[in-house]
């Protein structure tokens, strides 16, 4: 019961971060600030949801899998943010027309 309640609370908190990430993606003025929005959702939003889901996991293997997913998404988010920022920095923001 407590586990369920914790799950619900953590997932709800995670959703808030996702919503904030999307809002930032839509509202922020340029790429660099939008990067921040993205990382919030990646790191914290998914992290909270996964934390919540761990309370429902069947065994240590499942927990490990969930943790692995989180680590992988963290790495992907970090790399993607870095790459996009770098490309924008070197090539400018508006070079998509082809």
């Amino acid at each position: 019961m407590i586990a369920n309640a914790l799950t619900v609370i953590l997932i709800l908190a995670g959703l808030v971060f996702f919503a904030a990430g999307t809002a930032g993606l839509l509202r922020f003025p340029d790429v660099y600030s939008r990067l921040h929005a993205l990382t919030k959702a990646d790191n914290v939003g998914l992290g909270l949801v996964i934390l919540g889901l761990m309370f429902q996991a069947g065994g240590p293997a499942d927990i490990l899998k969930l943790l692995l997913i989180w680590v992988l998404v963290l790495a992907a988010g970090t790399t993607a943010a870095h790459m996009v920022a770098q490309r924008t920095w070197t090539h400018g923001e508006f070079e998509s027309d082809r």
Partner: protein
């Protein structure tokens, strides 16, 4: 409980659809790539939630694969072949140990 997971998944699906506005508007390719990256993360989360809502544990594996390969598109986006690099940008101020000799080995 599964109703809650499903509702959460539906909410996240809604954020993806909202985020599509950024892909459509751009304006730069960086913005679009960022949005795609966010969708990837959101998709992983939706899959995890659905795995509980629909009681299908295999979906965790699907989420794992998405998480694993989320970075490929971003890397492809940045590190492409023959990208004409405008001079006088930060990367060019570094010592030019860039692809010159290596390309030689590479192509033939």
């Amino acid at each position: 409980m599964s109703l809650f997971y499903l509702a959460a998944a539906l909410f996240l699906l809604g954020t993806i659809l909202l985020g599509l506005v950024r892909v459509l508007r751009g304006p730069g390719s960086g913005d679009r790539m960022l949005a795609a990256q966010l969708f990837g993360t959101t998709g992983v989360t939706i899959l995890l939630l659905l795995s509980l809502a629909l009681e299908a544990s295999a979906l965790v594996d699907v989420a794992l694969v998405f998480a694993l390969l989320a970075v490929v598109a971003a890397v492809a986006f940045v590190r492409q072949h023959g990208l004409p690099e405008p001079p006088d940008t930060p990367i060019h101020r570094q010592p030019p140990d860039t692809p010159g000799p290596e390309r030689h080995h590479d192509d033939r």
